[in-house]
C-alpha cells in the first residue's frame, strides 16, 4: 500500500513528463502493433483470398500480374485469350468449373468486369459462402444490367434501379464515356473479397461495348478455374507453362501471392525494424524522464529514507514507476493501434477489396504490452540505482 502511495504521488508530481512519456509509449506501441497486425493479416488475406478459385488462365505473361488482375482486380490485364481456349479449358476433365471474365472498362475508377451468372450462383468464394445480394437480384446476361459490389455501391452511392454509363479503360477519364447505359439490378452483400469493389456486368456486354475492337468481341481477359484435384493443377501447369508458349496458367494462387510477399519481405522487415526502434527510443524516454527528475526527487527520497524506508523499497518504487508509465502508455497504445489499423485497413479495402480486421485477436496484443512494460522497467533500473544510492544525510539539509 505504501509502495502504491509513493508510486501514485510520484506519477502525479511529475504528471507532465509522465503524460508525455506515456504518450510516446502509446504511439510507439500502437505503431508496433499496427505494423505487426497489418503485415500478418494482409499476408494471410492476400495468400488465402482466392475468391474460391484454384487457378487463373490468361494470356502469356507474368503469373503474378494475371492473379492480381483476375482475382484482386488490380494491375492491367496481360492480354486476352481466345474463346476456343476458354472452351477447351471448360471442357477439360480436370476442371470442375471455369468462369470467364473480361475487363477493360470502369465506372468512375471502379473496375467493370464482365462475367457469367455462374460466378454468383455456383461459386463459393470461401468454404460454405456464396455471393449474396444485400438488395436486388442478379443481372440478366442478355440485358444491359449490372450487379454492384458493396464497397462500390457505398462509395458511388449506387442503388438498385440506378443507370450509369461505363467509361473506357481501367482508369477513369470522363472523356472516355461509352454510349451504352447499364441499370443496377442488385447490390452484393459485403464479402470481404476484391469482388466488393467491382461493378459486374454480363460478359457479352463488356465484350461488345461500343468502341471496343469488334474483332476481339469473343475474347476474354482471363478464366477463373476450379480444379477437380490438386494434381490436375500441376498437370495443367506443365501443359500451359512448360510445354505451351501461348498462355499462362497461374497455379496455385496462394503460392503466387506468397511469392509477392517474399519479394517485398525486406519492406516488412524495414517497417518492423523502424517500429522496434521507435519502441526502444520511447522506452529510453522513460529513462531520460525519470533520470532527469532525480535531482528534484533526491530530497523526497532522503526524507522517505529518514522515515525508515529501505533502499530496496525506493529502488522498487522507481522501477515500478517506469513500468507503470509503460503500462499506461500501452493501454493508450490500443487506441493508437485501432486508429492506425482501421485507417490502413480502410486504405487496403479501398485499393484491393481485401478486408482486414483490426479487432481480430493477435499474439502481439499480449506480448507487445508485456515486452514494452518490461523494457520500461529495464529503463527504470538506472534511475532506480541512482535513488538507491541517494545519500540521506547529505540531502536532509540544513545541517546544524
Amino acid at each position: 500500500m505504501t509502495l502504491l502511495l509513493i508510486l501514485r504521488r510520484s506519477l502525479r508530481q511529475h504528471a507532465l513528463s509522465t503524460t508525455i512519456t506515456a504518450l510516446s509509449i502509446a504511439l510507439a506501441g500502437g505503431l508496433l502493433m499496427s505494423v505487426w497486425v497489418v503485415k500478418e493479416q494482409s499476408q494471410t488475406a492476400f495468400t488465402q483470398v482466392n475468391t474460391g478459385f484454384d487457378a487463373v488462365l490468361g494470356a502469356r505473361g507474368s503469373k503474378l500480374q494475371l492473379v492480381l488482375n483476375a482475382i484482386f482486380h488490380l494491375e492491367a490485364s496481360p492480354g486476352n485469350l481466345e474463346a476456343k481456349d476458354y472452351e477447351f479449358i471448360r471442357r477439360h476433365p480436370a476442371v470442375k468449373r471455369a468462369i470467364p471474365i473480361a475487363v477493360g472498362d470502369n465506372l468512375r475508377g471502379y473496375r467493370i468486369v464482365g462475367t457469367v451468372p455462374e460466378l454468383f450462383t455456383d461459386v463459393e468464394y470461401a468454404p460454405g459462402k456464396k455471393f449474396s445480394f444485400a438488395v436486388g437480384k442478379l443481372f440478366n446476361p442478355a440485358a444491359n444490367e449490372a450487379v454492384v459490389g458493396s464497397f462500390v455501391a457505398r462509395k458511388l452511392g449506387l442503388r438498385v434501379g440506378d443507370v450509369f454509363h461505363p467509361f473506357h479503360g481501367l482508369t477513369y477519364d470522363e472523356q472516355n464515356q461509352h454510349a451504352e447505359t447499364y441499370r443496377v439490378t442488385g447490390v452484393l452483400a459485403p464479402s470481404g473479397t476484391p469482388a466488393d469493389k467491382v461493378v459486374w456486368i454480363p460478359l457479352n456486354g463488356l465484350q461488345t461495348m461500343s468502341g471496343h475492337d469488334a474483332r476481339a468481341a469473343d475474347e476474354l481477359s482471363a478464366v477463373l478455374i476450379q480444379l477437380r484435384s490438386p494434381s490436375a493443377g500441376f498437370m495443367l501447369d506443365l501443359m500451359y507453362n512448360k510445354q505451351g508458349n501461348r498462355l499462362t496458367f497461374a497455379y496455385p494462387i496462394g503460392a503466387i501471392m506468397a511469392e509477392l510477399f517474399g519479394k517485398i519481405g525486406w519492406f516488412d522487415k524495414v517497417l518492423t525494424l523502424i517500429a522496434y526502434l521507435v519502441a526502444l527510443v520511447s522506452a529510453a524516454g522513460v529513462l531520460v524522464a525519470i533520470y532527469n527528475s532525480m535531482a528534484a526527487r533526491r530530497r523526497d527520497i532522503a526524507i522517505l529514507r529518514a522515515l525508515g524506508a529501505g533502499r530496496g523499497l525506493l529502488f522498487g518504487a522507481i522501477v515500478l514507476e517506469a513500468a507503470t508509465i509503460g503500462a499506461i502508455g500501452m493501454i493508450a497504445a490500443f487506441g493508437v493501434y485501432l486508429a492506425i489499423a482501421t485507417a490502413v485497413a480502410a486504405v487496403i479495402r479501398a485499393q484491393t477489396g481485401v478486408l482486414l480486421d483490426p479487432f481480430a485477436r493477435n499474439a502481439i496484443m499480449l506480448w507487445a504490452p508485456l515486452g514494452m512494460i518490461a523494457l520500461c522497467a529495464l529503463c527504470g533500473l538506472l534511475p532506480a540505482w541512482k535513488a538507491y544510492r541517494t545519500d540521506v544525510a547529505e540531502n536532509l539539509a540544513p545541517v546544524s
Binding site: L5, R12, Q13, I303, R305, A306, L307, G310, A393, S400
Partner: protein, 227 residues
C-alpha cells in the same frame, strides 16, 4: 532501570576534500532515560545534526555503541538500522522535511508506514491532536510555517516512537510559533511516553528544559578542535 538511550565511545570521522580526516563526533558517553526530555546546546556546525543522524542510524558510526533499548544501532547493518529507526525513533527537522507532493494525512501516515504500518485513523487522530483535523487533505505548501511544523510533530510521533529527536525544531519559526511548537512537541512526547532529545542554539528554547547539556561538553571532538 537501564537508560533508553545509552551512547558510549561513539566516533564519526569524515574525509575532508583535502584528503585529511576530520573527526566530527567523539562522544565518550551519553545517556537518556525513557520519557526524559533533554536539550543539547550547540552552535551551528558543531556536529549536532551528525550526532542525531548517528543516533537515528541515518549515518553509520565508525566506532562505539548506541544502545536504544535492547538494540545497538551502531552494530546494525543499514537495513536493520532503517527498521529500528522506523519502529523506535521519531525525527523532527528544522526545515520540517515534509513531502510536498503528499497530503498532510499522507505525510503522517508515511511516518508510521515503514515501522508498525500505516494507520489512517491514527494519523488523522495525530493531526487532530496538533489542531489540524481540518487540513487533512491539504498539501504542506498550503499551510503556514507553524502549521507545517505541527504536521512534522504529528508525523514524528505517529509511529509511537520511544525516542524523538528534534534538530533545531523552532529554527524556522517566529517567536510565538516557536513557543507554541516547543510546548506541543514536549506535550505530545509526554502523552506518548516518548523521550525527547532536542538540539538547539536558541536560549529561549533551551530555557524551557530542566536538563540542558552543552554539546561541547558531550562531544570531545569539539574540545580537541578548540584546543
Amino acid at each position: 532501570m537501564p537508560p533508553l538511550l545509552f551512547i558510549s565511545s561513539l566516533r564519526k570521522t569524515f574525509v575532508a576534500p583535502d584528503g585529511a580526516k576530520r573527526t566530527i563526533v567523539d562522544v565518550p558517553e551519553f545517556a537518556l532515560d525513557a520519557g526524559q526530555q533533554v536539550a543539547v546546546r550547540g552552535e551551528s556546525g558543531s556536529g549536532k545534526t551528525t550526532f542525531l543522524h548517528l543516533i537515528a542510524g541515518i549515518l553509520a558510526a565508525d566506532a562505539g555503541s548506541i544502545r536504544i533499548g535492547e538494540r545497538d544501532m551502531a552494530a546494525l547493518n543499514e537495513h536493520a538500522r532503517d527498521r529500528l529507526r522506523a519502529e523506535s525513533i521519531g525525527y523532527i527537522f528544522q526545515t520540517f522535511n515534509l513531502l510536498q507532493g503528499y497530503t498532510c494525512l499522507e505525510n503522517v501516515m508515511l511516518g508510521m508506514a515503514f515501522g508498525r504500518g500505516a494507520d489512517r485513523a491514527h494519523a488523522a487522530a495525530m493531526l487532530e491532536r496538533v489542531g489540524l483535523s481540518h487540513r487533512l487533505r491539504d498539501r504542506p505548501r498550503q499551510l503556514s510555517t507553524g502549521q507545517q511544523q505541527r504536521v512534522a510533530v504529528a508525523r514524528a510521533l505517529a509511529s509511537r516512537p520511544r525516542l524523538v529527536l528534534a534538530d533545531e525544531p523552532t529554527g524556522n519559526l517566529d517567536h510565538r510559533n516557536a513557543r507554541e511548537s516547543l510546548a506541543l512537541i514536549r506535550e505530545t512526547c509526554r502523552e506518548n511516553g516518548a523521550a525527547l532529545l532536542l538540539v538547539s542554539h536558541d536560549p529561549g528554547v533551551l530555557g524551557a528544559f530542566e536538563h540542558v547539556h552543552d554539546f561541547a561538553e558531550i562531544n570531545r571532538a569539539m574540545k580537541e578542535a578548540a584546543s
